[in-house]
């Protein structure tokens, strides 16, 4: 094995990047703990370790072995109780990471997120410090149907007091998760299901990636495609197709929705004067609406076309594959929106 320098890059899955971020943080700070349903997985508290699943998606695999069952805790199916406990644990001096499995289960603990985690610091006049991360898997495409496919991006982003993070690549996943764990605020960390098995290059050494700065995934001068999380992969594919037609699209991964990098976004769109926002999730009061509103305000009269918005359909997520495919944003729909924006 060769000796690596910190500038070296290695190939890694999104899943492994998340796992790395957590174990790195747990090694560095004994106050970091993880809890959630099945996150140890079968190994429970003291049962044999072999075969423990490490969460429904395997993100926390191996942590139990390294850090033991005081710091890696399977929980009962009690989303409200475990989220409240996460809030209390943070106020009591830990830096907990809660795994909620699917974002569709977050409504079960919405009081704890909206009324407690998000508000306690403010209500206590700055006394409460809430260094906690709530991870959850979002999104459709798995034919998991309406109660396992929500993204809920705007619901979290609407609530002052939360930070909201949406990585698109393994590098973002690892860097942003480390930063989220280091952050003293409640961070909602949303992992799109379709990303877990994707791979990408990451730096050899885990380092934090600043929250609140977008990432430019592809340079381009004709229009900007701003994407929420996994949608960036669709955006990249769309850009490839557009390139073949001679349209040079810039692709942005927003990385964090709160704080949102308005400045960065304005700077990008100033160059291209055309914007398409891509977001999985229904259109009303959405991230795409939010960005359209703010960019229209910042760049009033300077856009060459109305802002394109590609969202999911305004329906719950259907089970049936052709319906789900039609419901979700797709490369084809992004290309179409870009055409509309280019030819306006």
């Amino acid at each position: 094995m060769s000796i690596a320098t910190s500038s070296q890059m290695v190939e890694m899955t999104f899943l492994k990047a998340l796992n790395d971020a957590i174990s790195f943080s747990m090694r560095n700070d004994s106050r970091v703990i993880v809890l959630g349903e099945d996150i140890a997985g079968g190994a429970g508290q003291g049962a044999p370790l072999e075969g423990s699943m490490g969460g429904t998606f395997g993100v926390t695999k191996g942590l139990l072995e390294e850090f033991g069952n005081a710091r890696v805790r399977d929980t009962p199916i009690s989303e409200a109780g475990i989220t409240a406990a996460t809030v209390g644990a943070a106020m009591g001096g830990l830096r907990p990471i809660l795994d909620l499995m699917w974002a569709s289960f977050a409504p079960n603990c919405f009081d704890q997120i909206l009324n407690q985690a998000a508000k306690l610091r403010f209500m206590s006049g700055g006394q409460a410090k809430l260094p906690l991360v709530i991870r959850m898997a979002v999104g459709g495409g798995l034919r998991a149907a309406a109660q396992h496919s929500d993204t809920l991006y705007p619901l979290f982003t609407h609530i002052p007091g939360l930070k909201v993070v949406v990585p698109a690549t393994p590098e973002e996943a690892r860097g942003l998760l480390i930063a989220s764990i280091n952050d003293d605020n409640p961070v909602i960390f949303l992992e799109h299901m379709a990303l877990y098995r994707t791979t990408g290059l990451v730096q050899l050494e885990p380092i934090a990636m600043e929250l609140g700065k977008l990432g430019i995934m592809r340079q381009g001068s004709d229009l900007t495609i701003a994407c929420v999380g996994q949608a960036a992969l669709l955006g990249m594919d769309a850009a490839e197709l557009l390139a073949k037609e001679g349209i040079d699209a810039q692709v942005i991964s927003l990385r964090t929705l709160q704080p949102i990098d308005n400045e960065g976004l304005v700077a990008c769109v100033k160059e291209t004067s055309r914007l398409v926002v891509v977001e999985e999730g229904p259109p009303r009061c959405s991230i795409s609406a939010d960005i359209a509103a703010s960019i229209n305000e910042s760049l009033f009269g300077r856009l060459l076309a109305p802002i394109g918005r590609v969202n999911s359909a305004a329906t719950p997520v259907p089970f049936s594959p052709p319906l789900e495919d039609a419901h979700l944003p797709s490369v084809a729909r992004i290309v179409e929106a870009c055409h509309r924006v280019m030819t306006f």
Partner: protein, 320 residues
Amino acid sequence: MMISLQTLEHSFREMLRIRLFEERVRREFGKGDMPGFVHVYVGAEAIAVGVCSQLEQTDMITSTHRGHGHCLAKGVEIAPMVAELYGREAGLCHGRGGSMHIADFSKGVLGANAIVGGGIGIAVGAALAAQTLKDGRVAVTFFGDGAANQGVLHESMNLASIWKLPVVFVCENNGWAESTPASYSISVSDVAIRAAGYSIPGVVVDATDYSAMHVAAEQAILRARMGNGPSFIEAKFPRQVGHFVGDGEAYRSRDDRKSARQLDVIARTRLELESRGVDVGAIVDELGKLIGGELDSAFAAARDSKWPNIDELESYVYSN
């Protein structure tokens, strides 16, 4: 507890029907063209049948992510169920729901629910409707040991109790919630103990003993029907299969898995029937053919049948 031979035989057929359905689902799922994921009811058959065989069609049930057994026991037809598993327009929910949201309101099945604990309070509400409309219906909610730790169960039991609603809480305790053992996650030896905290009669039943299950259900349903309020049944049995089809259960010891399969209600009921002089082999053959044939055509038809029309994506969001 003894139930009549006729009832036992009838229920055995019903249980076997579910078993045959679920075994077929597992096999067909392996072919890779069934979308999403499925959870089968293998091993729990006595619960759905013990309860639903004593319900009227107009009585209402709420189900879980593991809902095929409840549907079949409540009289839902096989062909539209299978079509739903394949996401087809001919499915019970026109392909919108799939296995985890399968529903047939015409049979009183108010839906499988993919939110653990999601159906519990809905059944309480259905019972409220029945009580208010004074139409004599009862409601039953099925939920797992994992769901027993959801707060909504506590709220729902309290509500049902203070309002004396005609509802039966049936906890299907298979010892596991995904990879988490009930012995770890539940702070008490029997979930049914919790019923006392709501002045609700609670019993623990061995769900591998069909007769016991049947009698417990009978009493609870009667109590609801008479207007005497809710009951709680904890039906215990060991999970014989993976959490979902495809789950290798690496987190579980081989011994535990093996011993679970040895406590099978179908096998046990078969022995009981035989000891009471029934030619079960004949029943199994007959049903195997009958249901086998029905399943053959249901799966073939489902695979052949139309997808929902994508122009109708926005249907059923609102009623107007």
